[in-house]
Amino acid sequence: MKPVLTKVFGRQPLGTVFAAPYALFLALVFAYPLGLAVWISFHDYFFAAPGAQVDRPFVGLDNYTNVLGDPDVQRAFFNVGVFLVINVPLTVVLSLVLATALNSVTRGRTFLRVSYYVPYVTASVALVAVWLFLFSQGGLVNDLLGPLAPSPSWLVNSKAAMPLIALFVTWKQMGFFILLYLAALQGVSKDLYEAASIDGASRFRSFMNVTVPGVRAATTLVVILATITGANLFTEPYLLTNGGGPDGASASPVFVMYQKGIEQGNPDTASAIGVILVVLVLAISLVNRRILERD
């Protein structure tokens, strides 16, 4: 091989050829849009016909101050906070407990695995359809609850709408997190459990003292991925609560981005929401990592 080629492309230039389509793809639909989002958020940006030359002046932090002072946006960030407070702890606890139990059963494993994973592989739109039916005014859930049914009903009740969405997403995503925990449990040494049982530890104690610390790295990952899912929330408020209703009580930041950016034609303020959300997600991820992995 010619030394010049080696210098430019590395030892195996074929690697550059193989990786080029993927690198190009990442540049076009990830790196460039990420930069564009930031650029748009600092300019007075509006939609124009393709090819038209229009002036889009730099406006500094105007879009950010607009967005942060907007009650709709504040509400959406508050709502996603409510979502995360319910969804993340519930996801972590239930998926770890279920994974531990699944790990110990010997019979019917395939049936059980399929049951818990199947909501994860099914389209949100299809699952939302059946939840709409279950939780409608005259639906099965209210029928079962009888006089205990909330009034107004679940999806039009400003106190119940967001918790119900959090519950929906917990159920939908659980299978994936059980999967992560099952993989992590294979890495916890059997000797530790034996030692615990010789010391006379109860099953609960050995779960708290062996399992929980043993899967700590997976817990960090589960918390971060669950937070990202929460930040992404769109389909559920759009369909389940009919557009973030009632009165914006279940609007998510991505839903507000859609309303402002695409319905109302203000991509600049919508991009500012997006940038704020990315920064928050990254910050939460880093903090989680620090807290969960400190020693």
Binding site: L14, F18, F47, G108, Y116, A129, D143, A217, N232, M257
Partner: protein, 276 residues
């Protein structure tokens, strides 16, 4: 573990599984009934099943055209992921080239920056700048290569024994030949796992195809069904029946594929792709 304890945890797991599965059961039952009975007794009907709701939803959303659009969208993503994803995974695992480290870092970053947050700039680019609204290309482009699948491929290529490659080099096989006739046949299981993993992305995706298609003739099923739910359903005489029938049609392909290949959907095969 004591056998008695095992019985308890199995019982609890089975009960939990039934709770998880109930909405699926209810979806199918509801889709087969002309008039929904929302009482507890109505959840376990013994007769009166009909396919009426399926003809209803078919008239409203053109099921076949919607399904075809879903197939094209998903097929395009699978093609891009398998062809270019395998190449990229191989390069990242086995070849020393300039920029490998940075490409790997960007691939990891992609997994934590949610796609939804890029929708505004991607919408600006694809719909406004390139005029790709209502086209399959516009729908597929942002999903064309699934990064998690690239990761799975890389992990599989990394696990292949070093001796294999040394032997191939001794026999005088070039880099391309080594990949094509030695490494590729060995990672077929990874291709299956990655296909399963990639399939559920575009098949179930709602937000992006919803933004990029306004023409009903180009919308995948997730979008036509969602539009039916939010616009038309209120005016139908048995809205839930038709909605649930559509939901069943949307759910069945992904669920069937998953049930058939569920053995490939295990932690050890996927977590390597997610954990890093």
């Amino acid at each position: 573990m004591k056998p008695q304890r095992r019985v308890w945890s199995t019982t609890a797991l089975v009960l939990g599984a039934l709770v998880f599965l109930f909405p699926f059961y209810y979806m199918v039952i509801g889709s087969l009934q002309r008039k929904p009975d929302t009482s507890l007794k109505g959840a376990f009907p013994t007769g009166g099943f009909t396919l009426h709701n399926y003809t209803q939803i078919n008239e409203r959303v053109h099921l076949l055209q919607s399904l075809l659009n879903s197939v094209i969208f998903t097929g395009g993503v699978l093609f891009g992921t398998i062809v270019f994803g395998v190449l990229a995974g191989y390069a990242l695992a086995r070849l020393h080239f300039r920029g490998r480290g940075s490409l790997f870092a960007v691939m990891l970053l992609v997994q934590i920056v949610p796609f939804q947050l890029l929708i505004i700039p991607i919408y600006v680019m694809i719909v406004r700048n390139y005029g790709l609204a209502d086209s399959y290309l516009g729908m597929i482009a942002p999903f064309a290569i699934n990064s998690t699948a690239v990761f799975v491929f890389r992990q599989f290529f990394l696990q292949l024994p070093e001796d294999l490659f040394a032997a191939a080099a001794l026999d005088g096989a070039g880099e391309f030949r080594t990949m094509w006739s030695i490494a590729l046949p060995l990672v077929r299981p990874a291709v299956l796992t990655a296909t399963l993993l990639t399939f559920i992305g575009p098949w179930n995706e709602f937000l992006w195809p919803f933004l990029v298609t306004k023409d009903q003739g180009r919308q995948p099923l997730a979008v036509t069904l969602a539009n039916y739910i939010s616009n038309i359903a209120g005016r139908a005489d048995n809205p839930y029946g038709a909605i649930l029938a559509g939901a069943v049609v949307l759910a069945v392909p992904a669920v069937a594929l998953f049930v058939v290949f569920q053995k490939r959907f295990t932690g050890s095969e996927l977590s390597s792709g997610v954990k890093g």
